[in-house]
């Protein structure tokens, strides 16, 4: 039994390949720190999204195991305990209202009973308030802005009160304003409700400000891990992205990584 209380989700010595031939991960180990807002970054195709899906228990590994509270993730029959997962794409059921979408998160996982109890309705209301979606509860998702729809999609997962939330590039289609609101919300959930968050992101500037932990991946391996200011260094970023970087410092000492000028195309 794993008595390490600082982690709730970890991958131990896992190997994985998409095709059965070339391995994407070979003996990779990773521990998600409890109660932290962790951001997973790296170049395209380095295995960020795959790692996220493995940690969610969606993809089987060929060697090693994924542990949730010290036990293999597949042994958890109580689905409520499993990590919440928010895919990169928005839900396709865009004709449903926001309230119906969030309620689906609660009703679909339980047995065969299509009605919400009073307690469940109250839970949905609470999540809608938390996500600042109460005024949009009866609106069809298709009529929402990208940021609002994204929040509703997150609500679908959060309504099940998961301890861990995994998000795949939630800000990919959002402008800076909406992306910042989402980061602030995630930061609040992390601080107020002790939610453990792992978010895949291509953007480094906003997460550098709001995340408490950073993981850089390179070609299927964890390259660097730790506090943003320790991970987001010029050397690390240049090694991972193969382009020159400059790391500025904001007034509040947050690292601000930006790609620098370059003359030659990046080496892959």
């Amino acid at each position: 039994m794993n008595m390490d209380t600082s982690s709730v989700l970890s991958a131990k010595d896992i190997s994985f390949s998409h095709t059965g031939k070339e391995e994407l991960f070979s003996h990779l180990s990773f521990t998600l720190p409890k109660g932290e807002f962790t951001v997973l970054a790296g170049s395209n195709g380095c295995g960020k999204s795959t790692l996220l899906r493995i940690l969610a228990g969606f993809l089987p590994v060929s060697a090693g195991e994924v542990l949730l509270h010290g036990s293999p993730i597949h042994s958890f029959s109580r689905k409520r305990k499993k990590p919440g997962f928010v895919p990169q794409e928005l839900p396709e059921a865009e004709e449903m209202t926001v309230r119906e979408l969030v309620l689906t998160g609660l009703l679909a996982g339980k047995g065969l009973f299509p009605f919400a109890t009073g307690k469940e309705k109250a839970k949905v209301q609470e999540i809608l308030e938390e996500l600042d979606l109460t005024h949009l509860a009866q609106r069809r998702c298709a009529s929402l802005s990208g940021g609002e729809f994204r929040r509703a999609a997150i609500g679908m997962s959060l309504v099940r009160s998961p301890e861990i939330l995994l998000l795949d590039e939630p800000c990919s289609s959002l402008d800076y304003g909406h992306a910042q609101s989402l980061m602030l919300f995630l930061q609040k959930m992390c601080r107020k409700h002790f939610l453990t968050i792992l978010m895949v992101s291509h953007d480094l500037i906003l997460p550098a400000k709001y995340a408490t932990n950073f993981v850089l991946m390179k070609k299927g391996e964890i390259f660097a891990e730790g506090a943003p200011e320790k991970v987001l260094t010029k050397e690390n970023l240049e090694e991972v992205y193969h382009i020159p970087f400059e790391v500025l410092s904001s007034q509040k000492n947050f690292p601000v990584p930006i790609p620098a000028d370059r003359e030659t195309p990046p080496q892959q």
Binding site: R53, A56, F58, K79, R80, K82, G84, F85, V86, P87, E89, P91, E92, A93, E95, M96, T97, E100, L101, T104, G105, L107, A108, G109, L112, F113, P114, F115, A137, Q138, R140, A153, M156, S157, R160
Partner: protein, 333 residues
Amino acid sequence: MKKERYKELFFLFSFILLSFLILFCAFFLGINDLSTKEIFNDNSSGTLTPLAMARITRILASFLVGGSLALAGSVYQAVLHNPLAEPFILGVSGGAAVGTALAFITGAAVTGTFFIPLFASSGGLFAVLLVLLLGMTGRGEKNTILLSGVIMGTLSSSILMCLISFAGTQEMCSITWFLMGDLSAADPVLLRFSCFFAPLIAFLLFLLSPKANALASGEDYARGIGVDPVKTGYALLILATLLTAASVALSGIISFVGLIVPHILRKWGFADNRKLFPLSFFAGGIFLIFCDFLSRNIFQAREIPAGVITSFSGGLLFLWILYKKNLNGRKGL
């Protein structure tokens, strides 16, 4: 919040009122109008006259068939993420029709009436399986599944044509009517069977409706909230196919009910499958009763099959949806 509630209540109230009106017309009006005196043989025995009995049978058959097809359409649309998925377009009706025709031609139908739904279900399930297998070659792309359905439908109709060419004159006639969707000759044994079977499957689908919502959101969303998309998807598809097969066995191929009814209901704001599934069943039933009523009364001298009306109106709606989607610049169907 309140406005939406009123809208839903208004819809439900209008729907119930319209249903009663349609039921009334379908029962009393026709080439031979029924007067209240003609309902019962005589007041003391309380038995129904043959004409009244025939009308009731026909209305019941229309309700069960229409309800089954509309509900099956809603299920296919949720599972396959495609508003154009429907029993006929997916080739399920065609597969079930081949099964039914085989039951007639091999003589199994004469041995026992229950062979008809059995053959129809096998045909329907076989068609769904083939469509899904073909669809997988396109990495689950929406268009590939629909196109596979169209191919399946074409294959089925060619097999049916082949069977017709082997059949005798009388069988040829009944198979041809069957292909056009005929509600006038519902087998009483099959009808009794459907009276239990269709509501039972509809209830099971209602229980699965929150899971269908999860699937409609996307496979990863479903997984993320604890729903196995593969198992649940197959369970929903099999139930919808059985429902389609039972209705094909009862009345032949009636197309596009599964497209028209869910489309209108969704436009009215009933996109949550917990509401859409039961409403599709009832509205589909009433819709087909109405189409059957029209088919009996459009031409005074001659009756046309109800399937003609549904396929004509459904075909137009299909074009309209395609046109609107293209207008909105969305990718695919």
